[in-house]
Symmetry: C2
Subunit: 125 residues, 2 copies
């Protein structure tokens, strides 16, 4: 995203109220198409994301802005922001830097699948 986009963003069109001030933000890697993670944003986080061009979420547990990758270096630069039909969820198309999105070191947080025998096991890929 172009820096400065936050000045013109129609925040009033995003339904933050439904989720008590937070919207789910799904991050999808633009290169591989893999869904990387899902986190939350409040208006401040979305504004900071637009201002900086990198994904900045809201940490529900720590109750602070969470600039993804500040500690690990695994930042996400945002290439496109999509909005869903009822405008209460966004999809970030990001370039994932570093090792990956997950704190475990995996590229995606969705690195395990349910098997038909009821196990949760790591994907082969």
């Amino acid at each position: 995203m172009k820096m400065g986009a936050q000045d013109k963003f129609p925040f009033e069109q995003i339904d933050f109220d439904k989720g008590g001030g937070l919207i789910p933000a799904i991050a999808q890697d633009v290169v591989t198409g893999k869904v990387l993670m899902m986190a939350y944003m409040n208006e401040e986080a979305l504004r900071a994301t637009l201002e900086t061009g990198r994904a900045i979420y809201w940490s529900r547990s720590r109750k602070v802005l969470w600039p993804k990758g500040d500690t690990s270096g695994n930042i996400q630069t945002v290439e496109k922001i999509l909005v869903d039909c009822d405008q209460d969820t966004i999809l970030l198309l990001v370039k994932q830097h570093g090792m990956g999105a997950c704190h475990t070191g995996k590229f995606s947080c969705f690195y395990r699948k349910l098997t038909v025998t009821g196990e949760i096991e790591e994907l082969d890929e």
Copy 2:
């Protein structure tokens, strides 16, 4: 998913509590890789999804099970269920049937993007 998987699913490993009994469920189309929608599931909805092999969400507004596509015919058959690192969000890899996932007739609910001039406009594709 194989029918009958609900008998063995380790429901106790999924963190429904964090979201007051609900987990976000992201649906991604297995053919195109497009993220289709995000909705919620409670344990009952996840169990019904595993039992039937099609995506059955929980409608937060109507407070009932929401078998996706029952009215429209645009059902989603579930090919794989991925679980995220902290086990409070799932990613459904689905085959989208009919017109698409969105009630507007679009294939994906994420059919609009934010432009650098602060508009929300339809994607070209």
